[in-house]
Symmetry: C3
Subunit: 350 residues, 3 copies
């Protein structure tokens, strides 16, 4: 499926963010994940639960049902399933049909995020959840903002490609990202590690701009600023990075933009943005500013990738793709993702 050269649209042996912790409570939350309806809720003890969203009795959507203690009750014929997915009760009889259960998704709650494993349950290794702590989430010495969830009418790979080629900042965000007009002109460097691939841009001797002026009061610049795009897995990309006083080389702080993306369906995605900074942790106005900026910047990206999705859906024949050198990182990521999907297909076949 474009832009990948594999048929299968997404890997399944993977953790994905299903929801913010704050979204999940004692009401059933319906969310499509990788083309399947999922329901999320908390037990009376507060533990988050993710179950398949279709009743195996007569295919009724369970999100229209209700909670009975820790169990979910289908609104149609009253079948009841526990937090482990097992059928507990059928109203018209005293026993329960054999093999009556809902798929229960392995789930990890961490740093205000609910991660869900969409693959084979026994492969749901918690150590495969990206190391959020290292990026600034879930720790006292950084400040974090959760931006509102956006559900986007585009395949998730278009957002990955968008983020891995930040030269687009110069064109679609030049009015909303300070110094954005310079990004396309900064040379890139690719750093590959076992756990990530970074397309790094080091902006050097950048003049003061309104954002830096608020972030680092009293500093007049010039600044060195990193515009990174770091791919960890299809569920997580980090942009942003470190900022320095150009004169002294002093690290002023790190501003990370964490893009958490989850396929809702082959051509729809959930987009959770978290911002995290290592400086001005006690200045909430800096966080409010990030959220306000996000509310202007994200719609620009969303509009762009939805426009491409519409082209792809239109049935028009696509021209033969050309790439620039600046796309090397994005193409390597595309390859990583294809390899991940292929490995799964072969795993299932073998």
């Amino acid at each position: 499926m474009y832009p990948l050269s594999v048929e299968q649209p997404y890997p399944r042996e993977q953790w994905w963010v299903a929801a913010y912790s704050s979204e999940v409570g004692r009401e059933l939350l319906a969310r499509d994940i990788l083309g399947e309806p999922v329901i999320l809720y908390r037990t009376e003890a507060g533990k988050a639960v993710a179950l398949a969203g279709i009743c195996p009795h007569r295919a009724f959507p369970l999100s229209k049902g209700c909670l009975a203690g820790d169990a979910v009750q289908c609104a149609y014929h009253g079948f009841r399933f526990g937090a482990d997915g097992e059928c507990q009760h059928v109203p018209s009889q005293t026993s329960v049909p054999q093999n009556a259960r809902l798929r229960a998704y392995p789930l990890i709650e961490q740093a205000g995020l609910i991660w869900l494993w969409t693959g084979t349950p026994d492969r749901a290794d918690p150590s495969l959840v990206p190391d959020l702590h290292a990026l600034g989430l879930g720790r006292d010495d950084w400040a974090v903002e959760q931006h509102p969830l956006a559900t986007v009418a585009a395949r998730y790979t278009l957002l990955i490609e968008n983020l891995l080629d930040l030269s687009h900042v110069t064109f679609i965000h030049h009015r909303t990202i300070p110094a954005g007009e310079k990004v396309a002109g900064i040379p890139t460097q690719i750093i590959e590690t076992e756990t990530s691939l970074t397309v790094q841009r080091r902006g050097e001797n950048l003049p003061l701009n309104p954002l830096l002026a608020i972030q680092f009061p009293g500093r007049t610049g010039p600044f060195h600023q990193h515009f990174d795009a770091e791919y960890f897995a299809p569920c997580l990309i980090r942009t942003g990075g470190a900022m320095y006083d150009a004169a002294t080389g002093q690290l002023l702080g790190v501003q990370n933009y964490l893009h958490l993306l989850t396929p809702a369906a082959p051509s729809r995605l959930h987009y959770f943005v978290n911002t995290a900074r290592s400086f001005g942790v006690d200045r909430p106005e800096l966080g409010d500013m990030q959220v306000a900026m996000g509310a202007r910047i994200q719609p620009e990206d969303i509009e762009a990738i939805e426009a491409i999705e519409q082209v792809l859906q239109s049935g028009a024949s696509l021209p033969r793709e050309i790439s620039a050198r600046v796309d090397t990182g994005a193409l390597k990521v595309r390859h990583r993702l294809e390899m991940q999907i292929r490995a799964e297909s072969q795993g299932r076949a073998g």
Copy 2:
């Protein structure tokens, strides 16, 4: 096609209700039946007519045309077809092209209902129309109400399954059907005859409720009440049934709910509800109450089956189906319907 294990969505060698008598007059009525556009009207003598709705000249929808005496005139080039479907007139010439005709559907008008045969015309046996008289329609000693037609965005089989498993009453109609909250708990019994299959529930020693109080003034109960679901054919299911004075065993009356259903398309159905009662025939307020109750109950069923239809259309993979003992009747009906469709396919192949 789910929930059936056969490809073909519906049987065609079958009578279906196409319209209420009151809907059909000297204007062309357009109605989709089994995926085909049909036009209905009355001749000047008042005879109801059903013809194919596409002009064989250039595929124009005939429902946009008009009547010229007993003939239908296409609005595009003026081709005219008689009530028997034969082409009568082509404006630009004096003769008529060979084999120029519309399909004319065998039709029976009975008890305020227009029945249409969608199969091979020479198999259109009037005796195959369900015996409505026995159920209370078209006779002076019962009172009947025709509820407004609802066209529902769901396959007709979902409504059949809904009606055959009345345990749903306890969950989706508990606010709208008096004593409904008890239905799922009443044991079921299956009665199979040559012409029908009934899932019977005999509610015993039920206390007085507001509906019974109005239906049988002066009675204080307790009552025995039947909650039947009787399948005759895919076009007709009866629910409701007899009510008794529990103390004396005296039959107080029968209240039938006649569900007349017709596939409009593979995933759309027309739903005609008629209520018929053997008591209080001279009390029109009882009929008004049935119609008012129907206006609250039917949307609950429609919402439920449309929700399932949306699940089916979403492309989500369905869980392996589980059934309870209470589903035995519905599963037998599913089997009957599959056999009916298979027999047709083999008939055509043979």
Copy 3:
């Protein structure tokens, strides 16, 4: 694809009208042509240009971009393409990727119309553009009106069939075309030449009507009037024709209706109507009247063919087609078009 007996919906080795000259300027105009997005604009020198509308870098719709001199700049990553389609600039590097170009469509601007060749560029023979001069366009001794473009939710062949069988005028335009009610009754004659096929109707001794009274003041009739339908190519059909004084045989003038049609997609078409007359050239009120009449007549045709398109899309099975003698011309045109498409397929195969 119905009504043609060939798979391929349209010929590609063909000139089509893409736009009115007045629509194309220094803003990018997006238009779908034969299922492909195209962008149209003018160079600084005023030359009209038509390029493929999808950026070959990452499939972004170029219509959202902007002009930089004579070049188009993609709004996503700033790739820039010249008026010849060649990539001129990639922001993040000094060179340009090999083979980076947009398809540039051969284009001819003539009589206020922009014609575009959708086939192999080296076959784009300007002499294949229909001879508009002979029909009254682009000359001082005739008056011409360009009616507003309509984009119609129907396959272009339905409009060809509509125009070739003017017996429909009697039925769908009897209120909007003076003398229209007579058309179906006039005998037809087919005139085939190397370049066109005409279904000719010669209305004889027609009485004065309000339109003729305005067109030819002082004349009281009767009149002879031609109701032609002349097919040149799938892009152009002429209706209307000459009008005479019946008493003297004097030619009063010619009123042509030029129907320029372009497939937007398999089931969508662009409809450009131009009217041209050889008389009253200095009476602009006659042109205003034609435009006002068109605003009433065209919606009638559009509604008719969109209704057929809906039948075709509905999945209903079509009846076996019947035709009248009056359809001979339309059937011959259908055959011509099938031959044209088949010749192309064989050309590509050979």
